[in-house]
Each structure stands twice: as C-alpha cells, then as structure tokens.
Amino acid sequence: MTDVAVPKSRTKKQSLLKHIMTMPAGAILLVFAALQIACIAGALAFPDDFRYLSPQNLTILMKAIPVLGCLALGAGILMIAGEFDLSIGSVYTLTAVLMASLVDGGLSAFIAAPLGILLGVMIGLLNGTITLRFGLPSFIVTLGGLLFWRGAVLLYNGAIQVRFDPEPAFSSLFAGTLFGINAAFIWIILFVVSFYLLLHRHKFGNHVFATGGNPAAATAIGINTYRVKLIAFAIAGGMAAVAGIIATARVGSVQPGQGAGLELQAIAACVIGGLSLRGGRGSIIGIFLGVMLIHTITDVLLLLRAPGFYLDMFIATLIVIAAAFNHLIERRGAV
C-alpha cells in the first residue's frame, strides 16, 4: 500500500511528460497543443488549401467557442458536484426565445437578457429541487426537463424563427469586436477566469469538489451538500441562458430547434476535459480545452471539406478515448 507510486512509471518514460500527464487536464493540454502545432504547420505549409490561420477562420472559431463554452462551464461545475443536467440545450433555446420575443415586443434587451438568465436559473433550481428532494437521479429528472422545455418552446412561440433585433449597444456588447477580438470570445475568457476563481480558489469550489468526491464525508464534515448541488444546478441553468444570449446576439434570430444536442456536446467537452462522470474530479481549464478541442476538430474537418458525419464520428471517438483515459487515471489514483 505504501508504494502506490511505483506502478505509475510503467506507462511513461519521460519524466516531464509524466508530470504533465498527471496534472489536472495535463493530457488534454498535450493533445490540444499537438493539434494546434499540426494545424499551424499545415496552414503555413499549404496556405492556400488549408486556411486555418486566415482571419476569417480565426473569427469563426472565436465566435463558435463561447456558446458551447458557457454551456460546458455550467454543466461542468454541476458534474463535479456529482449531478448532470441534460436540459441545458432546451433551456438555452427557451431562454433565447423568451428574450428575443420580449425584445420583439418592445422591451429593452438589457432587461430581457437578465430575465432570460433568471428563467434559466429558476429552471436549474427546479431541476435541483426535484432531484434532491425526491432523491432521484438527475439524469432522469433533466431528461424530463430536456423534453418538457423543448415542448414549451413550441407551445410558447410555435415552430417559427424569432427575430432578435436589440439596440446597437447590446449587439456590440455581445457580438461586436474589441481590439480585433470578438466580444463573445472576451466574454468566455471572463467566464473561464471567474469560474476558475470560483472553483479552484474559492471556498465554494472546495465544497463542490467535496460534495462530488465523497458526499458522505462532505456531510460528515458539516458541508451542506444539498445547498452546494442546488447552487450548481442554478449555475448550469443560468449559463445555458447566457449561451443562448451570446448565440442569439451573434445570429440575430432564434430557431426553435437550435439547442438540440448541445447538452451532449457540453458534457462531451467536459469528459474530454478530464471530468469524472462520478463527480469530484476535473478542472475549469480542462473544460475549456475540451470545448476548444471540439471546435478545432470541427473547424479542421470543415476546412478539409469533410462530410458532416465525420465530425460526429471523430468527436465520439474522442469522448470514449478520453473517458477510458480518465478512468485509468482515476483507478491509479493520480490526477
């Protein structure tokens, strides 16, 4: 028992590599760095055929990452607390539809957007209350949420697109550019930093890890795990709404079906980023790298003009490999 460290060295030879691999999100960082180097090398070698570094492509990337990023940050903090939220894709659509239709009715977007976030938080709290009060698996409760709120979108607004036409100040705040950088991308960086501080540097984060890692121990030591999980549910719902706002501000309209499948992509990003499905493990930087990796691969496949189904197959493979890798690390007790 005392020499648990010995078997570690069997799979890795280089000590620096070993060190990075055992860091939280170290493995994903290596994969991401390798992919970036390959892409940049490819773009420099074939600037005309592989336009990875072209300003248009970088802008597309910067615009695409924040939406999934917001969803994954919220879903991730909840996963670390030991619960799931499958309803975030539907909540994302619902809150965006609500906001867009309120603005269409003459309300300022600066009021409609916080109302959308409030709705997201309320749905998160509802998911949490049902899950925790009745001791149900959140997987089932939020699967119900996924279908219910998807239906609610159609009930509220029908299967039609809603135009989103906010005041210019709102548009530039979420879809403009600052020093050549997309505003949405600045938002996601701010969120990543805030979530990092919350999860890794704040008391609350410590309680989230404890709640997900060993609920019995957390309760025994006096942590209110019910409250921690409820807050995590609220954050997941709220961030789904934020994702909806960012996406809607960029596109200028909401499609009633646009959120379908995003909840799975968000969870996929988390798993790729090193979060354990059983809770208690993971990092914000891992989640963000997971999101960036998914979008980089999507982007590369698009640039290579690969058919869409390759994308799904690629991401699927990545999820399974990441999950297997994480499981291996967990069993060994590292990370």
Binding site: K203, N206, A210, G213, A218, G280
Partner: protein, 246 residues
C-alpha cells in the same frame, strides 16, 4: 480529580429505532487525558453510541453532559463545538482533493470574499503533518488523499482533529483496515495525544489493540454497559470473557 467534571458523560441513554432497541440505559464517562476502550461484539450498540456522541443520532431518552454541563447534540457541529472529533473506519476524506484541502474542508481559511488563503493553509498543513502526526510516507500536503494508504488517511484525519484542538477523539474501528506497522504508529499516536491532553475513545472489537493503549475499558452488550474497569484491575482474558459471554 475526584471532583473535576468529566469531559464527556452519557447519562442513562436509550435509543430506539422503531421496534429495535439499540441502546438501553447506557451510562459511562470519558475523563481528561484518558484513553477509553469501548468494546463489544458486533451488534452490541457500539456504532449507535459513536453516532450519538458525534451528533448524528439523538437519544430517545437520557442526556449527555460536557464538562459537567447537561447538553444535547442535535447535529455534528454541536459535537465538534464540544471538542469531539469522530474518525470513521472509512475516514471522512475526499480522495480527489489534496491533504491541505481535506484538513481545512468545511473550515477553510478565507479572505472576506470567501477566497481561499492557500499558502497559509498549506503552511499549517505542512506543520501539522510534521509536528503533530508522524506517519511515514507523507512528504507534501499537496498530495492527493486518494494516493495515501489507509493508515496515512487516518493520520490526516487525526491531524485535522489535532489542528482544530479537539479534546476527545472518537476512533471507530481505527485499526481494521491498517497494516501491522500502521496500527503500531496509530496506537503510538493515541498515546502521544494523551500526553498532550487529548482523550480518545477506541471503539473496536480487537481487544489486543485496545489493551495496548487504553486506561479503562467499557464493555457493551445488547445495547448497554456490562462492565467498566480500569486496566490495572483486569486482564485480557477477563475482558475476552466479558465480550464473549455477555
């Protein structure tokens, strides 16, 4: 000593769960700087007693007193406030967090905004591990608890209790998952803490481990106390007899 109030005393405690009577008219005390062995076979009511002292269960009748003052523990923090720390078989630690974070879990050092004072906590953890608890193999408070052995985990739990100035350690089957060497280290630790004024209750059915360190033995059977004896007045064969035959 005769007139000094007991650190912790149980007065005529009974506890029923539905139709099951887990504890019946149980009374015993724990004195200052004393190691008490709470012995008994499986089902004697030891675990219920532990849960009661740590505030998880409330007695159906009877009461507790701390320093001679009558009290009632309604939750775990009441017990912690009275200076009692329970160290469970599967110690209440989170494997995926570092030793430092485990020691301060739920009692984090933070600034006014709730952000962790990581350097301060790390330094304290380092000091506690070096000075208060000597268990080999722990060289850094940044190590994840999941990487530690059973004995090392208990050492971390004890370090946590020591740092938060507990006066009574309640060790629930502390040696059941330990190697021989770790057991010796743990028992030595209990004696060291006793010298520093920390009392311990060893809840166990391993009479030999209890006999090594305890000053007094409380033997339970069928939910009540059947024997309460100082080490000087008994022998291991007499203890065995009581545990087995009652």
């Amino acid at each position: 000593m005769m007139f000094a109030p007991h650190l912790l005393e149980l007065h005529n405690i009974s506890k029923t769960f539905g139709t099951l009577t887990a504890l019946r008219d149980l009374s015993f005390h724990i004195g200052p700087s004393e190691v008490v062995g709470l012995l008994g076979d499986n089902g004697a009511g030891k675990s219920t007693t532990v849960n009661l002292i740590s505030g998880i269960h409330k007695p159906t009748s009877g009461h507790l007193s701390v320093d001679g003052r009558e009290t009632l523990f309604t939750c775990r923090s009441d017990s912690a406030d009275a200076g009692i720390e329970t160290i469970y078989q599967n110690t209440a630690l989170v494997d995926s967090l570092s030793i430092t974070r485990n020691i301060f879990m739920g009692r984090e050092r933070t600034n006014a905004f709730g952000f962790l004072k990581q350097a301060e906590m790390r330094d304290i953890a380092m000091e506690v591990l070096e000075k208060a608890v000597h268990i080999s193999g722990i060289d850094s408070p940044d190590k994840l608890v999941g990487d530690l052995s059973g004995g090392q985990k208990q050492a971390v739990a004890i370090a946590r209790a020591v740092f938060f100035k507990r006066r009574v350690l309640l060790l629930d089957e502390p040696t059941s998952a330990l190697s021989v060497r770790e057991t010796e280290a743990l028992l030595a630790q209990v004696l060291k803490l006793k010298a520093e004024g920390v009392s311990s209750v060893l809840v166990t059915h391993n009479l030999y481990h209890a006999y090594q360190v305890c000053d007094r033995f409380v033997i339970m059977s069928h939910g009540t106390k059947v024997f309460d004896v100082n080490k000087a007045d008994t022998s291991i064969s007499q203890l065995t007899e009581y545990v087995v035959l009652t």
